[in-house]
Structure formats: structure tokens, C-alpha cells
């Protein structure tokens, strides 16, 4: 029963994240990407303890690394947001259409 709950949690986080990336505001898209990454993190944590009695350190160390990478992704994304705001005076990605879409 607990297993089912965690699966539901993982997949709902994933769906929420993907839904967020369809939004207009760039900050919301960035949050959506982070939520998808966190659903992966949660899955890793769950599977690292699901197999046998002991907890596998491999999954946990991978999650640490992925949190760090997620942080750097956010840093790059926010710097892009700052630069986009300087040029377009908005963070609405639908208004950024100088190039052909």
C-alpha cells in the first residue's frame, strides 16, 4: 500500500512538473523543470531502499549529485531570465518571438 502511494507521488510530481513547463512565465517553467528533477530524485531514493533489507548508498549518492546539478541548472536558467528581461522587458516566453518559431 505504501508502495502504491509512493508511485502515485512520483508520477504526480512528474506530471505536475511537465504541466508547469507549458506555462507562459519563464520562472514557472524553471520551477517545472526542477519538479521533474525532484520526481526523479524521489524515485531514486525509493528504489535505493526497495530492493533488500539494506539501503543502497549508490542511489543516495546519485541523488546528492543530481541536487547539485539541479542547482547549477537553475543558476544558468535564472541568468538567462535576467538577460531576457533586459532585452524584452517581460518574462512571458510567448512574447519572445523575434525568431521564427
Amino acid at each position: 500500500m505504501e508502495d502504491l502511494a509512493i508511485y502515485v507521488l512520483i508520477f504526480s510530481l512528474f506530471s505536475i512538473g511537465v504541466y508547469c513547463t507549458t506555462k507562459k512565465n519563464f520562472i514557472k517553467i524553471l520551477l517545472g523543470i526542477e519538479i521533474v528533477l525532484n520526481s526523479g530524485n524521489l524515485a531514486f531514493i525509493y528504489f535505493s531502499s526497495a530492493h533488500s533489507g539494506l539501503i543502497d548508498p549508490l542511489g543516495q549518492s546519485l541523488v546528492f549529485m543530481s541536487i547539485i546539478l539541479g542547482g547549477s541548472v537553475v543558476a544558468v536558467g535564472l541568468s538567462m531570465a535576467v538577460n531576457a528581461y533586459k532585452h524584452y522587458k517581460t518574462l512571458d516566453v510567448r512574447k519572445l518571438r523575434r525568431l521564427k518559431w
Binding site: 519563464f26 528533477l37 532585452h87 524584452y88
Partner: protein
């Protein structure tokens, strides 16, 4: 001893320190020279690793820190990895050398060279990695640096917009890969490639394996620009500085293709994914070729042409035989030269004229003969004209499709290849027609840029007439992927 060869992985740090020192001590050109030297050092290191593996064709080189293969994060280098890594550092060397002249008048060059060498290291790391942990870290290194490099000229709005679009799609793609990795880890209990292949490969297909397959296809497919997921590419490639376009188009999307191939072959039997990849291949090349003919922007046309070349490469992957993968790898190497050259020499034209619109570039070919000659050779290679190396690899790719009886894909591929000649010829005709007044005063590009273009053009012709050196290595690489899986697993566990 072997770990000595991996010092080139620190080249971004060396370039960054040299750049800082050069700025503080006011030593001119210190960072440029350091960047060129470190990329030359990477090339030598990869060649040394290649020589270390030369003695035994089935040898797998394993490099690790602290923990051995199944537990720790490792590099597992087989023939396929070394082939991809060599293509990456070769193109990286050419582009770094080209940047020396092309980026002269830009500012923030320390960041530029640091990011460029970090991107090359990321590609080599993806090719070398022996488990998903290492693959994911180097994948993100490659991705993050490329997002920043696309948006490098941040004083104009277009590069920022292209970079933002690329960032959203690329970052979402790598998180989706991570999600799929989590489920693969849940099924196999490990992230090591060899262990995963012993546990998962050959199992009957269930819903979890379909989930993993879909996430990997979408995640790696975004970087590879397979057609429904390609939308970032035609914006990002033209807006990046030309050496970066060459690097992205020549090697980055192919690194995505390599990762897709490696992961699919580790996890599934070829019969599982063949038909899906064949349909995607047909879609990719047809769609991209039709859109390429509509473009008036020379770099945008080349970007669409890259997508169609990915379609031809997927044709080799869809056949799933040694011959097909041989064609794919050969085309990866050849395409890295051809498309690299096409972007570099069109970059020279853009550098000298300041426009990318083909209607305003009428007759530039007469003003810049050497650059245009090399651009023509690249175009002919991309179209698959005999005596260029593009012909050899396309011939093998189409042959591999016939080998497995995929006649519809073969016919579609040949038609597409002929069709693609249409837009190359249109550009060639415009470039050498009667010059307009606007371009009368254009001069030939700086000597270094012309020299690199001519060297790459000579390599294209040389490898078209005498393809054996690359062909032998590509064959060994594809053998290592398809027949060498058992050896791969044994070497890791011994």
C-alpha cells in the same frame, strides 16, 4: 599509469587560470594560446589512449577513482568510445584554433574559451562513461556549457531568445533522462552499463521497460534533434557564434546520438526499437529537407541540413547490424568534418560581410575564393557527391537499409539525398553569380581562418578517396558495440 592520460579533463581549469593571469598581468593572447595548446593536448591524450588499446582489438580500458567497476563511477573505454572521443577532440581542436581569429574582437573571451573546453571535455566524458552516474554528470556539463555558449553574445536579443529556448528544452530533456534512469535503477539495482545489460537485456517487454524506452527516446532525442523534438535547433545553431555552431552541429547532436545508441543497445535487443527508429528516421530527413529549402539564412539552412543528416544516421541505427552502425559512425565522423567546415567557412563569410541573408550575399564567392571553395567542398560532401567522404558513408548507410530489407526507407533516403542537393546548388549558384555593389569591397577572410577551412576541405577529399583509416576504426567500433557486449561485461566483472 593509465590515469596519466586523463589529465586533459582539467583543461577548462587551466584555461580559466591562464585567462585570469593573462588579464591581471596584461599578457596578450595568453588565454588563446593556452586554449589552443590544451586542445592539442587533449588530442594527443586521446591518441595515446588509442595507442594503449591498439595491442588487443577487444580490449576495454577501465579507469576509476577509489572504487572498482560495479560500485564506483567508472570510465569504460572501448573502441566505440575512443572513436567518438577522437571525433570530438579533432573538431574541438579545429574550432578552438578558428576562434583565435574569429573571436578576436569580442569581449569576455576567458569565459568563452573555458566554456568551450569544458564542452569538449563533457563530450569526451559522455563517450567514455561506463555507468549512468558518470553519463549524467558529463551530459549536464556538456548541456549547461552549450546553453551559455549559444547565448554568448548577450548584447543582442536574438541569441538570448535562442539560448532560452534551447535551455528549456535541453534541461527538460536531461531531467526526463534522469527520471528514466531512476526506473532502470529500480529494475536492475545498479547503474553500471554492464550489470544493467546482464539483468535487463533480453527480458520480455513490460510496461516499465516501455516507460524507460520512451523517456530515453524523448530525453536523448531532444539533444539529438529527432524530428518532433527538433524545434530548438534551427534557432540555436544560427544564433551561436560560428565556431560554437560548428561544434554544436558537428559533434554535440552526434554525442546525443551516441548516448542513445549506447543506452538502447545496453538495455534492449535491436528488434525492440528498430521499427520506431526507422519511422523517426524517415520523418526526420523528409521534414528537415523540406524546411531547409525554404530558408534564406545560410546558417539556418545548414542547421536544418544537420537535422536531415541526423535522419540518415538514424537509418543506420534502425538497421541494427554491424554494417549499419559502421555507416552511422562513419557518417558521424564525416559529418563532423563536413558540417564543421560548412559552419566555419560560412562563419568566415558572415564575419567579413556582416549578414547571413543569402540574397545579400550574391557574388561573395568571387571576392572570397578560398573560403567559398572550401564551402563548396563541404556542400558537395553533405549532398553525397562521389569522391567526397559524405558519399562513402551515405553509400554504407543506404546499403545497410537494403541489408535488412527496409526498401521503403532506402528509397526515401536516396530521394531525400537527391532533393537536398537542390538547396545546396541554389546557395552555390547565388554565391558565385554576378556580385552586387554591396559586396564589392569584401575582402578574403584572415589567413588563419582560410588555412583551417582549406585543411578541413583537403581532409574531406582525402577521406573520400582513401577512407580506409577511418573505416577500419569505425568497423572495430561497431563490432565492439554489437558483438563485443559479452566481452564488455566480462572485462568489467573481472
Amino acid at each position: 599509469m593509465v590515469n596519466m592520460y586523463f589529465f586533459f579533463m582539467f583543461s577548462p581549469f587551466i584555461v580559466a587560470i591562464a585567462g585570469l593571469l593573462g588579464e591581471r598581468l596584461r599578457v596578450r593572447k595568453l588565454r588563446e594560446i593556452t586554449a589552443v595548446l590544451t586542445s592539442l593536448f587533449s588530442l594527443t591524450s586521446i591518441y595515446m589512449i588509442y595507442l594503449a588499446m591498439e595491442s588487443n582489438p577487444n580490449k576495454i580500458l577501465i579507469a576509476y577513482l577509489h572504487a572498482l567497476a560495479p560500485l564506483g563511477a567508472v570510465f569504460e573505454i572501448d573502441r566505440l568510445s575512443i572513436f567518438m572521443a577522437f571525433s570530438a577532440v579533432l573538431l574541438g581542436f579545429f574550432t578552438t584554433l578558428y576562434s583565435y581569429s574569429y573571436m578576436e574582437h569580442d569581449t569576455r573571451l576567458t569565459e568563452y574559451y573555458t566554456l568551450l573546453s569544458a564542452m569538449i571535455v563533457g563530450m569526451v566524458g559522455v563517450a567514455f562513461s561506463g555507468d549512468f552516474f558518470t553519463l549524467f554528470i558529463f551530459w549536464e556539463l556538456m548541456g549547461l556549457t552549450s546553453y551559455v555558449l549559444v547565448a554568448f553574445r548577450k548584447d543582442r536579443p536574438e541569441p538570448i531568445e535562442a539560448g532560452l529556448k534551447y535551455f528549456v528544452m535541453g534541461a527538460l530533456g536531461s531531467t526526463i533522462i534522469f527520471f528514466g534512469m531512476a526506473f532502470l535503477y529500480g529494475m536492475a539495482g545498479t547503474v553500471n552499463f554492464a550489470q544493467i545489460s546482464t539483468v535487463i537485456r533480453g527480458q520480455p517487454i513490460n510496461v516499465w521497460l516501455i516507460l524507460v524506452f520512451t523517456t530515453f527516446l524523448v530525453g536523448f532525442g531532444i539533444k539529438t534533434a529527432i524530428v518532433p523534438l527538433h524545434t530548438w535547433l534551427p534557432d540555436a545553431h544560427p544564433e551561436a557564434p560560428s565556431p560554437i555552431s560548428a561544434m554544436l552541429s558537428g559533434m554535440l547532436i552526434e554525442t546525443g546520438l551516441y548516448a542513445l545508441t549506447r543506452v538502447l543497445f545496453i538495455t534492449f535487443e535491436p528488434s525492440v526499437f528498430q521499427s520506431t527508429i526507422a519511422i523517426l528516421s524517415a520523418l526526420t530527413m523528409t521534414f528537415a529537407n523540406i524546411l531547409a529549402i525554404l530558408q534564406n539564412d545560410i546558417k539556418r539552412m545548414l542547421a536544418y541540413s544537420s537535422i536531415s543528416q541526423i535522419g540518415y544516421m538514424l537509418m543506420g541505427l534502425s538497421s541494427g547490424t554491424v554494417y549499419g552502425i559502421l555507416g552511422m559512425l562513419l557518417h558521424v565522423f564525416n559529418h563532423s568534418l563536413m558540417k564543421g567546415l560548412a559552419f566555419l567557412s560560412s562563419g568566415s563569410i558572415v564575419h567579413m560581410t556582416g549578414t547571413r541573408d543569402i540574397n545579400r550575399l550574391k557574388g561573395v564567392g568571387r571576392m572570397m575564393p578560398y573560403t567559398t571553395l572550401s564551402l563548396f567542398i563541404a556542400f558537395l560532401g553533405l549532398g553525397g557527391v562521389p569522391s567526397t567522404n559524405g558519399f562513402v558513408s551515405k553509400f554504407i548507410l543506404f546499403g545497410s537499409s537494403a541489408e535488412v530489407g527496409n526498401w521503403w526507407l532506402l528509397i526515401l533516403g536516396v530521394l531525400n539525398s537527391a532533393f537536398s542537393m537542390g538547396y545546396y546548388l541554389r546557395y552555390m549558384k547565388t554565391l558565385i553569380s554576378e556580385p552586387s555593389d554591396e559586396v564589392k569591397n569584401v575582402k578574403e577572410a584572415p589567413k588563419l581562418m582560410v588555412l583551417i577551412s582549406l585543411i578541413m576541405a583537403a581532409l574531406i577529399i582525402l577521406l573520400g578517396i582513401w577512407p580506409e583509416p577511418v573505416l577500419i576504426n569505425a568497423e572495430r567500433a561497431s563490432n565492439a558495440l554489437i558483438n563485443g557486449l559479452k566481452i564488455y561485461v566480462q572485462e568489467v566483472f573481472s
